[in-house]
Symmetry: C2
Subunit: 304 residues, 2 copies
């Protein structure tokens, strides 16, 4: 695309009516002016064509969706109330203006669903499509935000949802024959786990309220993410792999690919939450998350 | 570079001791936790190899410097007190780990000079080197932040520093013969205007205190940036080009290139500030900025 940067930014702004209780002045100036609460959680997450997605199989709308959902997942893992997002787009020559607007619309739909204001951003030419998203979440007190370093021996590990769907979906996106033997609906559902992930913001807030002592989103794979909690909390974590829920169809895709099912479970990008919860709050936490339709499962515990 | 992402991020954190009155928990978690003031100004600015710099003539340290300086310049243009920065790096295979660390060190040096905490970020593989920087500034009241939309007829336009140096420096970086006839020191000084720009944070704060009604940083070129103020404030701006200070050596480089000098003055990337100031505060504003060694000049005024 030959970028008419200012004209295109003006079109973005028309589609992103950034408003909300914390927005004083949204984009269109050197910076957005916001009125934050007592504590903020801020995270940056970038996705790049050929690394985190491919334009061969992801539409611009899906790329915008994934970029903002992946960033918001970090706020979910803090138990933060989502507030604002800022999009920095690197746009190659061969992405049309329509494609850019579809990408922004895809991001805006996710933002809107979770009450997030897209308050600003940047647009630049780039040899490769990249989307860097900065998200800001809020809390009434910094101690309400759940870090990775508070797990204690005896805490119970709770996992939201099921794993493996994003990796199986990636295999199907790349090569549809990976889904052979599955129904078209199931193939679609797995692909959407890869293309349109859901940040577990409500579950994160619920787990924070239930006294979660440590929490992380399963974006890099269950094993690696659990090790982050373990290292930062200074305790061992035991995960019972046979208790980890696996998305429907994952085992079949793994078999088609000639892989063990756990290779897909550990593939990351499922954007579920892994939380350490004190034992006396576990039943309550499971019941709260069941109300959200996400579901949650006890998958292990923290040891000294 | 073959990225050992977690190991390299750990090295980044060792070099970026993010601390400060507003930092509760810096990077190393899903998000940084900060304790903001009443109002925040947030901006994102990305630079990409081949678009905003070239690794052929910019060192990793200079790329890190420029990325954060360009982002902080947007906070200067708001009259915000700089607070935190978040770096998202897209790193190609052929940038070594040493190169990555030099880039981060270059960014950290600028941050440190202006009291900015690098509180978090992201690291991803990318076919091309890109650095996206999110900066957050603070103010005790949102009305203390200077937008682009408040200029009124009668306001006087003040420009900090001198223009053209960054464009002349770019020409010299690309082709040293563009500086022929100039001393080596002067060539270096022009190159540094391109490679290591200075965000005018102190001048921005001073202009805000002096009641600036509108302000912008001259990053895209004086004409275009003035038009942003004009359009958003709903008044005409007259700039007397013969009053615009031009950096030493710019006229000579323009002549060598066979260009009129104003082609370089309008080239952008000088990161000076253009502010509209009520007429009764102009002398005081000029005196304040003179104290900062930046200098400032009356270059025009706002008309109805």
């Amino acid at each position: 695309m030959e970028i008419g940067e200012f004209e295109l930014l003006a079109k973005f702004r028309e589609r992103l009516p950034a408003s909300g209780p914390r927005i004083h002045t949204a984009s269109g100036d050197d910076a957005a002016i916001t009125l934050p609460g007592t504590a903020t959680a801020t995270s940056v997450d970038a996705i790049v064509d050929g690394v985190h997605f491919s334009r061969d199989w992801a539409s611009p709308s899906e790329i915008g969706h994934k970029a903002i959902a992946a960033a918001l997942s970090d706020l979910a893992a803090m138990g933060a109330e989502p507030g604002e997002a800022y999009l920095a787009l690197g746009v190659p020559d061969d992405l049309s203006e329509t494609g850019c607007l579809e990408l922004v619309d895809g991001a805006a739909a996710v933002a809107s669903r979770f009450g997030v204001s897209i308050a600003g951003g940047d647009l630049t030419a780039s040899p490769v499509l990249s989307v860097s998203v900065t998200v800001v979440g809020h809390a009434a007190d910094p101690e309400l935000l759940v870090r990775r370093d508070g797990a204690e021996a005896g805490d119970v590990l709770i996992l939201t949802g099921a794993l493996g769907g994003a990796s199986a979906g990636l295999a199907i996106c790349r090569e549809p024959s990976a889904g052979e033997g599955l129904s078209a609906d199931l193939c679609d559902s797995l692909s959407l786990r890869q293309l349109r992930p859901t940040p577990r913001l409500d579950a994160g807030l619920a787990l924070a309220r239930m006294g979660a002592t440590a929490m992380i989103d399963v974006s890099d794979g269950l094993g690696g993410d659990a090790r982050h909690i373990s290292a930062q909390s200074g305790c061992a974590l035991v995960i019972e792999l046979d208790k980890v829920p696996v998305s429907e169809g994952v085992a079949e895709v793994a078999e088609t690919l000639g892989l063990p099912a756990f290779a897909l479970i550990g593939g990351g990008e499922d954007y579920e939450l892994l939380a350490a919860v004190p034992p006396d709050r576990v039943d309550e936490a499971l019941a709260e998350i069941a109300k959200l339709d996400t579901g949650a499962t006890v998958v292990g515990r923290a040891l000294a």
